[in-house]
Each structure stands twice: as C-alpha cells, then as structure tokens.
Amino acid sequence: MNNVILSKKLLGALVLGMVLTACKSTPMTDKPAGIEDKSPSAAASQSTQSTDSSADTSGVKEVVIDSNATSGLSPLNDPNSILSKRNIYFDFDSDAVKAEFRPVIEAHAKYLLENGGAKVVLQGNADERGTREYNLSLGQRRAVSVKKSFNLLGVQDNQIETVSFGEEKATPNCDYENCHALNRRVDIVYGNE
C-alpha cells in the first residue's frame, strides 16, 4: 500500500515535471491563434490570399502559424485537489483504464456532472513506435476508452471531446520502457486550457 502511495507521488512529481517542462518549451505569445497574413490590406483573415506577380509556377507562398498556449487559472489546477490530476497512463498496446486511475476519473466525472457548462477534452497519446497516423488512432482509442468510463458515470458526450496527438507529443528517442510508458497517456484538459 505504501509502495502504491509512494509510486503515485513519484508519478505526480514526474507529471508535474513534465508539465513544467512543457510550459517552458512552449513559446508564449500574446496573440490568439492565427496565421500571419503578409498582405497589408487583409485584417483578421484566416488565410493568406495575397500573391506576388511572379508567374513562376514553382513558387510557394509561405503561411506562418503561431498558436497560443493559454493557461487557465482554475480551481481545477489546485495541487491539493484530485482534480489537478489529469493524466491516465496505459499499458503497452492497451486501451484499458487501470483501476488505479478510477478515483481520478470519478472526481472529474463528478465535477462535470456538477458543472454542466464545463467541457473537457480527452487528449490521447501514444509512444513513438509505429507510424504517425496509426499512433494517432491508438491515442484516440485510449481517449475513447476514458470517455466510456465517463459515460458510465453519467457524463454525456456533449461535455466531452476525444482527440489524439498520436506520437506527436511523445518524448523523443525513448530507449527504455519507462520512457515509452509515460507517452501512453490520456490527458484531461478543460475548456480552453
């Protein structure tokens, strides 16, 4: 039992470390997600349509995107609350939600039921072994597995979106199993977090 608690604490510390690392490595910008439009006349257009007069058919017009990583200040982030636990980990080649994550899912399900306006995104992830598109589908399957757990606790689909980052957010060049294990994960993300 002590071991379990200890490992949970370690896991929490690891997760926190990962979150901090992620924050550090994400460039913060003060502008909303959008695409740079190089034509001076276009205002908040979502796409660049300007083109120079070059008739060279091999020309390429570049589009630049800077997404904004906003961090919401929410009681959901209170480190003393179980609601601050947002990561569900999976075994290799598995989408089964392990018993140890049941309290976390129950707490979030309760929160969603009590806050009907709250919306949650379940972000699936996979380790980097295999092809990118297939891993996108594997991450999705894990997100769907967590969603089904929420459904069983009464949360409706209109409060949940399941998406996947596949292997795109995986720690690169994992050469040991514990590293891969951290990438087999569903993250619970609220609203515009």
């Binding site: 020309g59 589009v63 995107i65 990118r132 589908s137 979106e161 399941t162």
Partner: protein, 429 residues
C-alpha cells in the same frame, strides 16, 4: 509573431549505390554494349554564352543521372573539345573515353530576359543522334529545365519515364517549429509552405501538384487543411469533432479520403476537395486509417486492426465489405499503391523493426526494401521505380530512397533538422 526562414539546403548524402543489373531495364538502344552494367555517359559542359547564371546545367544533369544508379557519368575534363551540338562532335574523342552516350548543349540569351536552352543526345558507338530538345525559358526556370533534360536522357536510354523534374514535400522540425516544406527532388530549393509551433503531419500532394493537404495541430487537435502552393490560400477541409487526419487525394483530384473519429475510433470517409459531400466509407468498431487510392480510383486501401493486429485491407471507394490484402508479418501499415497499380508498398513490423516492404499484388510475394528500425511513410516516385520514405539517423529524422528493385539507395539528411513525413509529388510541367 516570428517568422522562421529556413532555407537550409538539404544535403544529399550517398549511402551506397549498388550496381544494378540492367537486364530488366528496357534498353531499346544497344548502348549498354551487352556488358556494361551502368550506362557510361559523358555530359559536356553546356556553353552558357553571355548568360552568367549560377546554375551549371551539366552538373545538375550529371547529379540526377548519377543518383538514379543507372548511369556512370564520365569525367570530361581530359577531353579538349567542347562541342555544343552533335554536328561539332568528333566521336573519336568520346569512344576513347569509353562513353556510350554523349549529351551536349548550350544556353543562348534571348531578348526580353529569356533563355534558349538546347541539348542533343548521341549514341557514341553508332555515331547517331538519339534525341534533342529546345526550351525557351525564363532564367528562374533553368534548374527545372536541367532536370527535364536529365529526364529526357533517362527516358531515351532506359525506356522508362524520368523523375527528376518533380518535387517532394516533407515536414522539417527545427527546435519547437514545424515546417511543411517542398523541395526539388534533388533536395535543392526548399521552400516553406506552412510553419507552425504545433505539429504538422501527413502532407499529401494534389494530383496536379498545385495543392497540398495536411494535418495541423494548431487548434490543439488534428484538423485537415488544403493549401494552394502558389497563393498560400488555405481551406479548412475537415474540422469535425474529434480527429481529422490522413488525407489522401483521389487520382482525379476531385475528392479526398480522410479519417474522422467523431466520438469513437478512426473510420474512413470521402469528402469533396471543396469540403462538401462527406460520405462514410467504413463502419467498424476497429481502427480504420491510412487510406490510399488505387490508381483507377475504384478502391481505397487502408490499415485496420479489425483482425486483431494492424493489417492492410481494401474497400470499394463507395463503401461496402472490406477485403484483407496482407497476411504476413506481425503488422502491416501505411499502404501505397504503385502508379501502375500492380504493387503495394507498406511498412512492415516484423516484431522488432519497422521496414519498407513491397508486395506484388498478383503473386502476393513480398520484398523487404529497407533496414528499419523505424522506417515510415513510403511514397512512390511518379514513374513507380523509386520509393521515398522516412528513416532515423542518430536519433533524428531523415529521408531515404530506394529503388523498387532494392538495388539503389540514397539518403537525404538536413543539417540540424529533423525531417519526416515525405511525399513525392507529381511531375512538373
């Protein structure tokens, strides 16, 4: 907002060129002389007149032909004569060099900032003219024209269509920045199509080469965009609840096969190129993804784990029952059909490594074409003779190519970059 300009050149690095057996190549001329395994060819430096361009046409042609593995490009420095047309050729100069083919040409400056490029190809042994061409171009088209000349030589001497006047697309990750880039097939002239601080994956060329579809995570989930290369205009092709991924153009360019999840597992759909007319193609509880079209547009091949492990299946493009296509190997993923529809490229997982494999659809026979261990994203050259794929070198992504017979290999790496998700585009006009 910071704009990253990344015009770093891709360095073409030769891993190994295995001498191909020319017996299978359609040598309609007797230029191989029966014994030569690679065609010995001399490319005389083109007379560039008063044009002071940066491009050296003969060097570009030589590099293309050499890279194919089918040619031995001879050093011409020891030959005093510099003919620019066949009529000026003293064939004795070139028989003593043991050249079997000889290319000569010149660039002339025309009024209005235009150039006339002409070339001729000769059979040295028979002392005959094989082919020739004249191009009236702008100076910026000189490099493309050089590739076209290489294609003309390749086609005349091997009997197969060339591949040099084409481009490749790929994702270049540099720091936290992802850039979808296109470059000439020799890795030169990389241009950024779109860059983002969130991942971009799965670039797919429209059949006319004017647009690229891709998956961007800029909205914190996978969304499919279609973007015009020339104007940069972006269309959000699919942004449904859940994931939107794996775009694949139909051969006629009117539709794309895509993968959507809504609130469940990945399933195949088709959608018109303007984002209208969404139709569901597969209806399973398993993962169905990585769609690709047969060249006749009738079938969609895809990866599915409906049988337990991921294998390749095909389904009518209008839906219906799927048929299993691959049976060997632990997993088979990422199907791609050759332009003639006769063979299926895929990624095979043998239990420890992911490698490029090629299956003959008639016989079912499979040839492993790459070493692994994490090879991905196979993509055919327009003539079907070469496969481009992603590999890893020293923990970084790199591109590699292998001839469909497994004999010729090359690798493209980018200094300081992490390159993945290659897609070979159509031939340029």
């Amino acid at each position: 907002m910071k704009k990253i300009k990344d015009f770093t050149r891709i360095f073409v690095l030769w891993l190994s060129v295995m001498v191909p057996n020319m017996a299978h190549a359609a040598l309609e001329i007797e230029i191989s002389g029966g014994n030569a395994q690679q065609i010995p060819i001399a490319i005389v430096p083109f007379s560039q007149d008063t044009f002071k361009g940066h491009e050296n046409i003969a060097n570009i042609i030589s590099a293309d032909l050499r890279r194919s593995g089918l040619f031995r490009v001879l050093e011409t420095g020891g030959v005093a004569s510099r003919p620019t047309s066949i009529s000026q050729v003293n064939f004795g100069d070139w028989t003593s060099l043991q050249a079997q083919a000889l290319a000569v040409g010149k660039v002339e400056v025309l009024p209005g900032n235009r150039l006339k490029v002409s070339f001729q190809l000769a059979d040295v042994l028979k002392q005959t003219h094989l082919t020739g061409m004249e191009y009236n171009i702008t100076p910026s088209q000189l490099r493309l024209t050089s590739h076209k000349i290489a294609d003309a030589i390749y086609q005349k001497l091997t009997g197969e269509a060339g591949i040099f006047a084409s481009r490749i697309a790929y994702i270049n990750k540099s720091g936290n920045r992802y850039a979808l880039q296109v470059a000439d097939v020799d890795g030169v002239n990389p241009q950024t199509v779109v860059s983002s601080n969130e991942p971009i994956i799965s670039p797919a060329w429209s059949p006319d080469g004017a647009k690229v579809a891709y998956v961007s995570f800029e909205k914190k989930k996978p969304i499919i965009f279609v973007q015009s290369l020339m104007t940069g205009q972006r269309l959000t092709l699919a942004s449904f609840k859940g994931n939107n991924s794996a775009p694949a153009w139909s051969p006629d360019g009117t539709k794309l096969a895509i993968v959507l999840t809504h609130s469940a597992n990945s399933q195949l759909y088709t959608i018109n190129a303007d984002g209208s007319g969404l139709k569901q193609v597969t209806k399973s509880s398993a993962i169905d993804t990585e769609p690709t079209w047969s060249p006749d547009g009738k079938w969609i091949y895809f990866t599915s784990d409906r049988g337990g492990r991921p294998q390749i299946y095909k389904v009518s493009a209008t839906g219906g029952e799927a048929q299993r296509v691959t049976f060997d190997g632990v997993n088979n993923l990422s199907p791609k059909l050759s332009p003639d529809g006769r063979s299926l490229a895929m990624i095979r997982f043998d239990g420890s490594k992911f490698k490029v494999a090629l299956q003959d659809l008639a016989s079912g026979q499979v040839q492993i074409l790459s070493e692994g261990a994490q090879d991905e994203s196979p993509s055919f050259a327009p003539n079907g003779r070469v496969l481009l794929y992603a590999t890893r070198v020293g923990g970084r992504g790199a591109l590699a190519a292998v001839s469909a017979d497994g004999r010729v290999r090359q690798r493209l790496t980018q200094s300081g970059g992490d390159v993945r998700e290659p897609a070979w585009g159509p031939m340029l006009n």
